[in-house]
């Protein structure tokens, strides 16, 4: 009796599965192992398929990126003043300087505060750490890693148009 092989599945030591090769008889243990792998794979695919829309859902929706084009009345921006508008979802500062209109992405490259226009010194000042930029966007003082990013701007008869 002891010489007859035990039916598979009753006493397989863990970690040593391949004990019955070359059998044509369906082997429930191997069958279960195969199906378990299928289940694992399909479950993984299902998980990814379920997570994908959730991730996409919390991404900023297309419209939230903001207008690609902002128009300002010239009359509302007299010489020497500035205005900050949202352009492409970012605060953008428009200044009517003595040399004409300028527009910059108002986010300071240092730590993300929003710069202000200072008419007296003809410069853009970051209120957080004393950063200072010239009308050309270049760094003139403070711990600033780089210049401000210029924003495309055009002027028509009575409007300032930010963006293309």
């Amino acid at each position: 009796m002891s010489s007859t092989p035990k039916p598979p599945g009753t006493d397989v030591p863990p970690g040593k599965p391949r004990k019955s090769p070359g059998k044509t008889r369906p082997d429930p243990v191997r069958r279960r192992r195969f199906l378990r792998k299928c289940l694992g794979a399909l479950g993984g695919v299902g998980f990814l398929m379920a997570v994908y829309p959730l991730i996409r859902y919390i991404e900023p929706p297309p419209e939230a990126e903001g207008a690609n084009r902002v128009e300002i009345d010239k009359a509302s921006l007299p010489p020497g003043t500035s205005r900050t508008v949202i352009y492409r979802g970012r605060p953008t500062i428009v200044v009517n300087t003595s040399d004409g209109y300028i527009a910059y992405n108002a986010v300071c490259p240092h730590l993300g505060c929003v710069v202000k226009w200072e008419g007296g010194t003809q410069s853009l000042i970051c209120p957080c750490h004393g950063g200072k930029f010239g009308t050309d966007g270049s760094v003139q003082g403070g711990p600033i890693p780089g210049p401000l990013t210029a924003v495309e701007l055009s002027v028509s008869d009575d409007k300032i148009i930010i963006g293309a």
Partner: protein, 296 residues
């Protein structure tokens, strides 16, 4: 700041503005058109059905033995005016709330049995103002002839939605016009209106699949209104051809919107079927696994 949130969100506002700028010339009479659109919306028709049952003209005349007196009610029941809540009293006057015959047909309340054929266009024009304004100076209204008038083509009681086939009613046109002219006229109407009807059908189908179609419907309405305002009741082929030509510049853009929306429907369905397929396969594998479990 409103760009950052959706508090000020209006569906498709950007594209809508762009389109209305392009067709600014068509929107001159938008107030009237708005009224027309309101009349055509399902909401308008849903609320209107209640009022019908309380109209005494309808309740009395429907049961009269004389068919000349009862048939108009049946015809009106099938008309486009019924869901729009335009009933007997709007053309015939009288008191639709009274059960007393003399009161219901009170001349003091502008009751008139047969409206004067020469003022019919003014009655219809109370709502269909643009059509009237085009019709009066047109060849059909010229010199106060008013022949044919509104009801000659559109029917009096069984008023139906405007469509190209109205023109082909032989009795109305053949007396004065040659068949060739009529064919040109019908072909032009088809060119102008058929794409719009097609867009609307497509939009309804897409809407029921859950994809927004407000932009398509707005554009289709603008095009339709342009046709109605500037072409439908002008009755001069050259003028009408010019309007239809300019409309055909707009149609490819609307068609593009329709195609985009259709693609979105297909994408959603494919995505859904992927899930359905996965769930079914998963269920199948679990079923097989369950069967392969040891007996105890």
């Amino acid at each position: 700041m409103s760009e950052l949130t959706h508090a000020g969100y209006r569906p498709g506002a950007g594209a809508w503005n762009a389109l209305s700028a392009r067709t600014a010339e068509y929107t001159a009479r938008s107030a009237v058109i708005l009224l027309l659109l309101l009349v055509w919306t399902p909401a308008g028709s849903a609320t209107a059905q209640q009022a019908v049952t309380t109209n005494t003209c309808v309740s009395c005349h429907a049961d009269l033995d004389d068919e000349d007196m009862s048939l108009p009610v049946a015809e009106w029941q099938r008309s486009a005016h019924r869901p729009a809540d335009i009933a007997c009293q709007d053309c015939h006057g009288g008191n639709p709330a009274s059960m007393v015959e003399d009161e219901a047909h009170d001349v003091e309340r502008d009751f008139v049995g047969l409206p004067d054929p020469y003022v019919v266009h003014e009655l219809c024009g109370e709502c269909h103002q643009v059509q009237m304004e085009n019709y009066v100076p047109s060849p059909h209204g010229l010199e106060g002839d008013f022949w044919p008038n509104c009801v000659d083509c559109h029917e009096n009681h069984e008023v139906v939605f405007p469509r190209a086939s109205l023109i082909s009613i032989p009795d109305n046109c053949e007396d004065c016009h040659e068949q060739e002219i009529m064919d040109d006229f019908i072909a032009l109407t088809d060119r102008g209106l058929e794409p719009v009807n097609e867009f609307r059908r497509a939009a309804e189908e897409i809407r029921s699949a859950g994809v927004p179609v407000d932009l398509i419907l707005a554009q289709a309405s603008l095009a339709r209104d342009a046709y109605i305002q500037q072409a439908s009741h002008v009755f001069v082929l050259d003028k009408m051809t010019a309007v239809v030509d300019s409309l055909e510049q707009v149609y490819p853009r609307i068609q593009k919107e329709v195609n985009t929306a259709r693609t979105e429907v297909d994408t959603r369905r494919r995505f859904g079927w992927m899930f359905i397929g996965l769930f079914l396969v998963l269920a199948g594998v679990i079923w097989l696994y369950r069967r392969a479990l040891p007996e105890d």
